[in-house]
């Protein structure tokens, strides 16, 4: 059974439909890429899943539970962490405080410390900057912090929204190699990206979103070799 199932999901912003009834599945251990142009509804999809925008109709199921109407703050405790677009770190807090807020719903302090060690192993830079105020970090470092903060909740699925946005190629490569590492450790990943080439290169399967509809889906490799995808999203 799929870990996350989205069935006929519709979301409206006022009278404007943002998602016109999309369906997709994320299986355990998969890395799913959701690609598409600006305004296609990628971010809205993630926001609907984690309860940041209300769902007009349809159903979202996570590990057998209906989470369609579950409020945002209870989602993380169920094992789903969302790394939002634009990173959204808490700018006036230190790196360490940000990370600890990622573990807000967890109780056992020694368990938290262990996860913190894991996060620091993935991102040695965060350990070096633990006492630095998050707002003074570079964009790439903030993205690492946002990811590390999400991992602090020990999620079974990680939702990532445009992790490459606004980053230098070196940081993009670093972030993607960490996503691969996290996935290799057994975490499920739902990745939303405009950088289709990068996303497809690490994903197992992918969905293509166009103005609120899913227009194509399949194994990432096939999409990477698909002519119309190459033309529309890979700039070839």
């Amino acid at each position: 059974m799929a870990m996350l199932t989205v069935k006929d999901l519709k979301v409206n912003y006022g009278v404007i439909p943002a998602l016109k009834g999309i369906s997709f599945e994320v299986g355990e251990g998969e890395v799913i890429a959701l690609i598409g142009a600006n305004g296609a509804g990628k971010t809205t999809t993630l926001h609907a899943i984690t309860g940041l925008v209300p769902v007009a109709s349809g159903k979202i199921e996570f590990m057998g539970n209906d989470i369609t109407k579950t409020p945002a703050h209870t989602i993380v405790g169920m094992g789903m962490a969302h790394v939002p677009e634009g990173r959204r770190v808490f700018p006036e807090m230190t790196v360490y405080q940000n990370l600890m807020l990622g573990a807000y719903t967890r109780k056992d302090p020694s368990e938290k410390e262990r996860t913190l060690e894991e996060v620091y192993t993935h991102f040695p830079r965060l350990r070096e900057r633990a006492k630095q105020i998050a707002g003074t970090l570079s964009g790439g470092e903030q993205q690492m912090l946002a990811m590390g903060r999400a991992l602090m909740s020990k999620p079974s699925i990680l939702l990532m929204d445009e992790p490459s946005m606004g980053l230098s190629p070196i940081f993009v490569a670093e972030i993607f190699s960490i996503i691969e590492k996290v996935a290799a450790e057994g975490k499920t990943v739902l990745l939303v990206e405009q950088n289709a080439k990068k996303a497809l290169s690490i994903a197992t399967r992918a969905y293509v979103l166009e103005t609120g509809d899913i227009t194509m889906e399949g194994p990432a490799k096939d999409l990477l070799n698909n002519d119309s995808i190459r033309k529309a999203y890979l700039g070839e």
């Binding site: 703050h73 989602i75 993380v76 939002p84 807090m93 405080q97």
Partner: protein, 295 residues
Amino acid sequence: MVSFFSNLINGLSLGSIYAIIAIGYTMVYGIAKMLNFAHGDIIMIGAYIAFSVITSLGLPTGLGILAAILGCMVLGICIEKIAYRPLRGAGSSLAVLITAIGVSYFLQNTALLIFGSNPKMFTPIIPFKYMTVKIGEFSFQTISAISIVVGIILVILLQTFINRTKWGQGMLACAQDRGAASLMGISVNGTISLTFAIGSAMAGIAGVLLCSAYPTLSPYTGAMPGIKAFVAAVFGGIGSIPGAMVGGLLLGVIEILSKSYISSQLSDAIVFAVLIVVLLVKPTGLMGKKIQEKV
């Protein structure tokens, strides 16, 4: 010199009360992103609760203070739930502002209906024989010293709560980014309720202190201190707790010193003139954060 020191103590005492009120204002602004203009009237309700328990029912003073704190706490939570929460996310901060003014009039008129318009004599929480402290030729009111001490204790407690507890960190997170806070598992509604509870409890304490220092209690008792505390919060930089503390203390001292040395009628004008000058020089207030315009 002796009178200068007494004035200074009176100023710091009034300033501490302003600071306690201003902190409530500033916390609510920082976390709920709204100006709760009914905050001053919560002070008045707190004082009436203490008055009813201590003077009308003749129960012990401690019980009256406790009732004022708890009563204000519940009142604050209810006001937020009933009046402000339904408007949250409606996109208009003006609607919330107007509602807050409405709540303020509602509280004043409710007090008017229950207690009448005649001012009540509030029984100060300090027994008469301990009313003043004399050190050599130098004397001051006990309540002044208590106000200052209570102000300091409350600020320390609050800072510890915010920096050392999970709920406090949740409040800071909500103040910085509500959406991201909810993704961390922090209930935004719960955090805002908590903020109103703490701010209103402090307003209750301020009400008891204020009416012990100036013992006439009417339905409009909270209005002027409420506005002054708002000024103090802006003065210090709205959203900043240390700023509210400094702003409150400065405001109290400026007010009392101008009353004693310049003119008691002009003191409020002087207070507001200082505010205008501060805002002209530093628009974000003394300890306010820079507001970054999003492009």
